[in-house]
Assembly symmetry: C2
Homo-oligomer: 440 residues x 2
């Protein structure tokens, strides 16, 4: 702590500080609040500061005349690079060997709108940096907005734009790319990027937040910093999702993009690898990757965004009308079924499935259990579906199989080729099986 205010007006000192300053506020009652200054939200009245505590939680403090304040200015990043704030247009320059952060909207780049009580997106680079004051501690980060929407609005067209944007960052010399994305459909986009980017020179790290950055319990800052660190240091050349491993702010799981799913609507550790453990972790000691993580490849980035969206994902359930299921896939070149158990549907659905296959559609089977594999050889139902022409897709998640179907259809008009493509391992989407391992 290099400055100290022992006057009765801590508020005046605080007003003069830039975002990212580390401060400690000591009250007459002996309580101490130590943290990093972050922007106050819209309704913060006079004499209120927002502090990000070392725990990752934000707190709003009403500053009393009797408070004392100790201040550290924002820490300069290592390697002698000058401190980033005030920033201006520096984020626009190419950063050879550095990290690019692509924003797409979503909670990680949102704040509470206190008039409506909801969350609304943050669009400006400066605002993102002011919410994440320590983002550039390890080196400069180039920030670019690809689009700006909540993730439930993101679809196949956006996947193309995002894959192109990621490729462009690598072509401009980026070592790694971070994609900040809403968590709702983060898993779908992650799988799409993994399939659209068959060769990568470095890591592509998708990251989100379950709470917006101006909320006390926000996970955005810690997630984003860990994602930047992984993109900057990780010996990795695949698309991954980085999110909280548990409820604490000091450990992050690195999930393979094609084997991850949001398994809780609100917890910080909502994202879980399926059919196997994460392929790595990030913590205070650095980046730790398992041997399963794909090591950096040489050669330029490859991008192949050909897709055909004439496909449906059809969840089976008791009571589902076969006529309705058939109507919902009319005109489709591809259908992914999320069957029960090992990949089953009621036999009343066999006739339309046979007709779809005879009409040239590719019908793939997955399990709605979301863990374990589909297998047509155990029960008579599976063998009947196999005879009807259904392709069993082992342990692909239903969503991942659907995304892969769009790309497979884009790469061939021949159903036999599409079936073969679906069964090939493109991006580690088929798990190495661990027959006795615990899934969670």
């Amino acid at each position: 702590m290099v400055e100290e205010s022992a006057t009765d007006d801590a508020w005046r000192v605080l007003q003069g500080l830039s975002r990212g300053s580390e401060v400690e506020i000591v009250r007459l009652d002996g309580s101490r609040w130590k943290g990093t200054l972050v922007p106050g939200h819209e309704l913060s009245g006079a004499r209120v500061v927002q502090l990000k505590l070392p725990s990752g939680y934000n707190v709003g403090l009403s500053i009393l005349p009797s408070d004392r304040v100790s201040v550290n200015p924002p820490a300069p990043p290592p390697n002698g690079v000058s401190a980033p704030a005030p920033r201006g247009a520096t984020g626009q320059q190419a950063t050879a060997g550095g990290v690019s952060l692509l924003t797409t909207g979503g909670t990680i780049a949102s704040r509470i709108d206190y008039r409506t009580g909801g969350v609304k997106p943050v669009k400006e680079e400066g605002e993102i940096l002011s919410f994440y004051p320590t983002l550039e501690r390890g080196g400069p980060v180039r920030i670019r907005s690809v689009f700006d929407r909540l993730s439930e609005e993101i679809g196949p067209g956006d996947w193309v734009a995002l894959a192109e944007a990621v490729a462009e960052e690598f072509r401009s010399g980026a070592r790694g790319v971070v994609v900040a994305h809403g968590t709702d459909t983060l898993g779908y986009t992650a799988a799409a990027l993994a399939f659209a980017l068959p060769r990568l020179p470095g890591p592509v790290v998708l990251v989100g937040a379950q709470r917006s950055p101006d909320r006390p319990s926000s996970d955005g800052s810690s997630n984003l910093e860990a994602a930047v660190e992984l993109a900057r240091l990780g010996r990795l050349s695949e698309v991954v999702v980085l999110m909280h491993e548990g409820l604490s702010d000091d450990r992050f799981a690195v999930h393979r993009a094609t084997r991850v799913r949001k398994m809780h609507s609100s917890r910080r550790d909502a994202f879980r690898s399926r059919n196997g453990p994460p392929i790595g972790t990030v913590d205070a000691q650095g980046v730790h990757l398992t041997p399963e993580a794909r090591a950096p490849s040489t050669g330029p980035v490859e991008v192949d965004t050909r897709m055909d969206v004439q496909a449906q994902l059809c969840w089976f359930y008791p009571g589902l009308d076969p006529a309705l299921a058939e109507r919902s896939v009319l005109g489709c070149r591809g259908v992914i079924l999320a069957g029960t158990g090992l990949g089953h549907v009621a036999s009343s659905h066999l006739p339309w499935i046979r007709r779809a296959v005879e009409g040239g559609a590719v019908v793939g089977m997955t399990t709605q259990c979301l863990e374990g594999a589909s297998d047509p050889y155990v029960y008579s139902t599976g063998r009947e579906l196999l005879r009807a022409g259904v392709t069993y897709l082992a342990d692909l998640l239903p969503e991942v199989a659907y995304v892969k179907m769009l790309f497979a259809l884009g790469r061939s008009q021949d159903p036999a080729v599409v079936r073969r493509l679906l069964l090939e391992d493109w991006a580690g989407e088929f798990a190495v099986r661990h027959p006795v391992a615990e899934p969670d």
Copy 2:
């Protein structure tokens, strides 16, 4: 061990024994195989016996002339009731205060068909008892087949038949009822029975097996015996699912029927309670129920199987065509959406949702995360959906919400009443929230 064969023909001794006998086979090499005799499968050649080992695994042993055999006859049940085998028609008699076992088909009542390599159902009571020789150890079990099909074939009409059959067993004096059911749709049927049986005098225990009873790794025997014990002893008056808690054969989880889901296609411990822990366990020490388990009620069983099946379960995903979604719910009185995250769909779906609600349909929202709750108040998308007339169903699983919708529609023609019914707690389907508890 009361008899011993020291001759060179263990095979002759084994042939004379009834199923359920406990034997120990000692080989010249010193190896010992101790277990319960179970029927051999179809291709078991001469001189092969099937033993269920204490671990729960079955093993087929080819009997050598040099083998020695020690034999215990089947244990008589306690309370002086005579041993059940040979059985004949005794299973047909009413068992006041006892346990009824209703079979419906499924793996737990199936065996491998070694000609096709698949699994086919076992229909006869005698065969069930011969597969599960120790089923009646704690007292007689009345066995009745309600229907006989793989669970992916079971639908709303079967739920009615099964609810009536359960009610009939209680009216005949049963203390508890066990329902053996295929695991694929066990969760759907469990929820349906919970909603169709608003008052129960004792436990209804649904149980299944992930492996058929003649396979070495079958879990059917241990699951079924634990289910019978829970039905016989448990101070419980609700519908539950009992399955392996972990991978070992000595501990079973008791899941509330409306909060359980098959989360793995093949593991013994595939069934998991969602949004909270199981409400009990069964182990060698007996039955252990948490305070959340509903205690036995007085008064006769109540059954209300009114349903309207004009409802759809619609999973949202990026790329889902709104026109297609609308077409799939035409004519429906009820729609359950499995949205992303806190319960979102792309805004392009708002118009058809508004039209459906204006047309008198009830549209309910759940989360496809399968854990956590839906909540319309966090994001603008949720508030828009709320304004469109969508009913947010908190932490109901999508499948459970769909099953409940059928019953709610059956109980009223008025959309406002249906909405209110959906939000009422009928059978513990809304979890007590544990804000900081770990889900698994």
